[in-house]
């Protein structure tokens, strides 16, 4: 059997799984929203409840199709989706696709920076901890990882906001661009500065798992016979790691890093909320709290595709890099 055929089958299989996953999560989310105690009409009306008559409520229901049965609504939504229409958001009064596109561009940059940082830093810390096992440095790194792994993201965000935004005044306390500056004056530098705190928040918490896993893996490697042999030949320190350790630990690290897309996305929701950063997270919170079903379903699908892509890339990389996995795939 040729390699090309194997790949086609692999990709086809993955696509099938993606489609079934999307159908699954959207139907499940829809059902959960039906059971949620949030009354979308009430959430939409908000503070004006006592001034909106029953008659007007009916008009609002009609306008948003909320008077139809859940089954009818889900089917109508699905039909529109097949034609490429994600529907209209109730609270933003805008096509869902537009909102997601706009927000995704902000979020993706933030998540990419955080992801790269946490990957590189986490891997480095893990390697250092394993090479200097039982030293003070190792203990400090482990302590840091355990602390960070059990710390809520929004709390870190608030601490950073307090320290760097308020006490030191080095960085802006929120938003993605400077306050009051017109769009044509905003530079990439401004955007980068506003991204530092949210990205730092995300990468700080993302470091822990990758560092701990890398350390564990490298520790195992360092205890193996061939390392003993290498040491006997006089290899030491970085050279030892580069020649014999790196290849063994970089693969699980990469896999883990791609598989962490879901945590990244979840963390972004919280960090964006704290820093009033205009990404997907902010929109997700609004959609959930106010029962905006079309927007929430759109966001759920978007995040499902995002996480799925991460896992798939991890899978492919593994197969490409590790010859044993490649054989398994091709056979």
């Amino acid at each position: 059997m040729t390699g090309r055929n194997g790949w086609a089958r692999f990709v086809g299989f993955k696509m099938l799984r993606l489609v079934s996953l999307l159908v699954g999560v959207s139907v499940l989310s829809f059902i959960l929203m039906q059971f949620s105690p949030v009354d979308p009409i009430e959430a939409y009306i908000g503070g004006d409840m006592i001034r909106v008559s029953a008659e007007q409520r009916n008009l609002i229901e009609e306008r948003w199709g909320l008077n139809e049965s859940p089954m009818e609504r889900l089917l109508a939504w699905g039909q529109a989706l097949i034609q490429g229409d994600l529907g209209t958001s109730m609270i933003y009064r805008q096509p869902v696709a537009d909102i997601i596109q706009e927000r995704f561009m902000n979020s993706i940059a933030l998540m990419a920076v955080a992801w790269l940082l946490s990957g590189i830093i986490g891997f480095t810390l893990g390697v250092v901890a394993a090479m200097r096992r039982d030293s003070k440095l190792d203990r400090l790194i482990c302590w840091y990882c355990y602390t960070l792994a059990s710390t809520p993201v929004f709390w870190i965000a608030l601490l950073l906001l307090m320290v760097f935004g308020v006490w030191l005044g080095w960085l802006p306390v929120g938003l993605g661009v400077p306050a009051g500056m017109s769009a044509d004056q905003v530079t990439w530098g401004d955007r980068a500065i506003h991204m530092i705190l949210p990205a730092l928040t995300l990468s700080l918490t993302g470091v822990a798992s990758i560092a701990l896993h890398t350390k564990q893996k490298l520790t195992d490697v360092l205890e193996s016979d061939y390392i003993l042999f290498a040491r006997a030949r006089g290899e030491r320190g970085f050279q030892l790691f580069r020649r014999h350790g790196f290849r063994h630990v970089v693969l699980p690290a990469i896999t883990l890093q791609f598989a962490s897309f879901s945590e990244l996305f979840g963390g972004a929701v919280l960090a964006e909320q704290v820093f009033s950063y205009p990404g997907l997270g902010q929109a997700t919170v609004q959609a959930g709290l106010r029962g905006d079903v079309p927007l929430l379903l759109g966001l759920v699908m978007c995040s499902a595709i995002f996480v799925f892509t991460g896992n798939m890339v991890a899978d492919i990389l593994y197969r490409m890099i590790d010859p044993r996995m490649k054989e398994e795939l091709m056979s």
Partner: protein, 552 residues
């Protein structure tokens, strides 16, 4: 979102925590330079001089739906980019805006408004009666919070006259004329909410969604020019708004009472009077069958007038203001304290245990078994009081009230419930609600028997034909002034009403002050009594804001 208490007083722990955090950041390879020094929040307090004609405000949440009045923009505070036919001044009296005059027919069904003819939109086109007609027609069809279901139609017989025809008389229709901003027919389209054109004091320059809106003065504006050429509205969480104030980024920030204890350098705390009230709603019927939706309705204890009056009179409202609101508020005796349509005679002396005991005894309630709780015909004076779980202010008010009421021998069990649960239990249990609007229609909806039990309208199923007839008279009045005495009589006409002296269907507790941190030297003018809903209303009188040079 977890609420974070910003107490960086003189605790030992915080410095340690800060340094620890900076160390850990240093470790992760992103150190921002040196270790933390003694630098503090003051460093951001620059650029705020008394000649600056720009302001940065963090006073409210983003109107996600955009700036289209026909779908709800401008319902609180000023629509900013558009102007309204009428508006309310600092004393909540009606004054003309786009209108030069208005009249209502004898039967209250036909409203005729004449417009000034010197108004142009920010794009230079004149504003005519057709635009008003277009605005009201569009709002009718938008399926939004703008309730125009009582409007039969609107006509524009000539350029400066608009005629509204109502289905039934409604003196409160005036509220729509004071809140609905007029949009231009020629410049209205699918993206109007993002690119509003109007005749208001400002025009939108840029809207960074989820972040901020930047506005500039409208050169075409016919009214008083604001002292500020440019305004930036930041859409920040309460926590972030407070942090921004501390960092010196904003000139005015709306903050919750919990943050009021800390001083912020360069800023003054301004407390604005409101009718943002909290009160206890009592089920008015005896425990009986079911409500319309099949839910349990009525309550044998709260349906007794003596209980409701005793609860009302024993509560120490001043103590609630001091204890729960940190002093930022005032006692509440009605749904509309200090608004033109409330009745000053309905105010009474509270914190009066003797009076409560007298009322209970006269009503036949006595403590026969000596357990500290009074009974009548074998029924103990005990009932539940629900509040929306998660709302700390409501929780504290409910608990403090229960303590006060216990002295009179009435036992209140305080329970936090979700909104959904509350809705199901509200017909048979007392509930701590909050209202407060610049529209007397709210009073009607809370006390009238016409719509009782519809959504949040008159949840206690209160019904008094005399009150109903006074309120009907108020609705049928042809002007607000004419309606005012009827609203007041519905509250208390000397023999009956929905006040404490009458049927006491509610025990109103407090009005909550809205708090704003304002940069020193910025004068925000004379503020109206704000309605329920914190934030935007502060912008109502933007044209009066100025730098107060005497303090600089």
């Amino acid at each position: 979102m977890g609420r974070f208490s910003w107490r960086w007083g003189k605790r030992k722990g915080r410095t340690g925590l800060g340094i620890l955090l900076v160390c850990s950041i240093g470790l992760s390879g992103c150190a921002q330079g040196t270790a933390p020094t003694a630098s503090s929040a003051e460093n951001g307090q620059s650029g705020t001089t008394s000649t600056k004609d720009e302001l940065v405000l963090a006073v409210g949440t983003e109107p996600e739906g955009g700036f289209d009045p026909t779908t709800g923009w401008g319902q609180y505070g000023s629509p900013l980019f558009q102007s309204t036919l009428l508006k309310r001044d600092a004393k909540l009296q009606l004054v003309n805006d786009l209108a030069t005059a208005y009249s209502v027919s004898e039967d209250g069904l036909t409203w005729t408004v004449t417009l000034r003819n010197d108004v142009t939109f920010s794009d230079g086109e004149p504003l005519t009666a057709e635009d008003v007609k277009f605005t009201f027609d569009t709002a009718t069809q938008s399926g939004s919070v703008i309730d125009l279901t009582n409007m039969a139609d609107v006509k524009a017989p000539d350029d400066s006259t608009v005629v509204f025809t109502l289905k039934s008389p409604q003196s409160t229709f005036i509220s729509l004329l004071t809140t609905l901003g007029i949009v231009p027919e020629h410049a209205y389209g699918a993206d109007y909410a993002e690119h509003p054109v109007g005749s208001g004091p400002y025009k939108l320059v840029q809207w960074d969604k989820g972040q901020q809106a930047i506005v500039e003065a409208n050169e075409e504006y016919y009214g008083n020019k604001s002292a500020f050429h440019k305004l930036t509205f930041l859409y920040l969480d309460e926590d972030a708004a407070y942090a921004a104030a501390q960092a010196g980024t904003v000139d005015i920030a709306a903050i919750p009472a919990a943050f009021s204890k800390q001083q912020v350098n360069g800023m003054t705390l301004e407390a604005v009077k409101t009718v943002d009230n909290r009160g206890i709603m009592f089920p008015m019927q005896p425990a009986c069958a079911k409500s319309g939706d099949g839910l349990p309705a009525g309550n044998d204890v709260t349906s007794d007038l003596a209980i409701r009056q005793a609860v009302n009179v024993v509560i120490d409202r001043k103590a609630l203001v001091e204890g729960v609101l940190e002093g930022y508020g005032r006692p509440s005796y009605s749904v509309s304290d200090d608004l033109p349509w409330s009745n000053a005679e309905a105010v009474f002396t509270d914190a009066n245990l003797e009076e409560a005991k007298r009322i209970l005894a006269a009503g036949g309630w006595a403590d026969a078994d000596g357990d500290g709780i009074v009974e009548k015909n074998g029924v103990k004076a005990e009932f539940n009081l629900l509040y929306f779980a998660g709302d700390l202010t409501r929780q504290s008010l409910a608990l403090a009230t229960a303590d006060m009421v216990a002295q009179a021998g009435i036992k209140i069990n305080v329970e936090g419930k979700s909104r959904e649960e509350t809705k199901k239990m509200a017909y048979s249990n007392a509930v701590l609600f909050g209202w407060g609007s610049h529209d007397p229609l709210e009073t009607y909806n809370l006390y009238s028997s016409t719509h009782k039990g519809e959504g949040y309208y008159n949840v206690g199923l209160y019904s008094n034909p005399v009150v109903d007839s006074w309120m009907d008279k108020a609705l049928q009045a042809t002007s607000e002034e004419e309606a005012l005495p009827f609203w007041q009589k519905a509250e208390w006409d000397g023999t009956t009403g929905f006040s404490y002296q009458g049927d006491a269907p509610w025990a109103w507790l407090v009005n909550i002050d809205h708090l704003y941190l304002v940069t020193n030297g910025l004068n925000i003018g004379e503020q109206q009594i704000h309605p329920h809903g914190h934030g935007w209303p502060v912008t109502t009188n933007l044209e009066e804001w100025s730098w107060d040079n005497s303090t600089k």
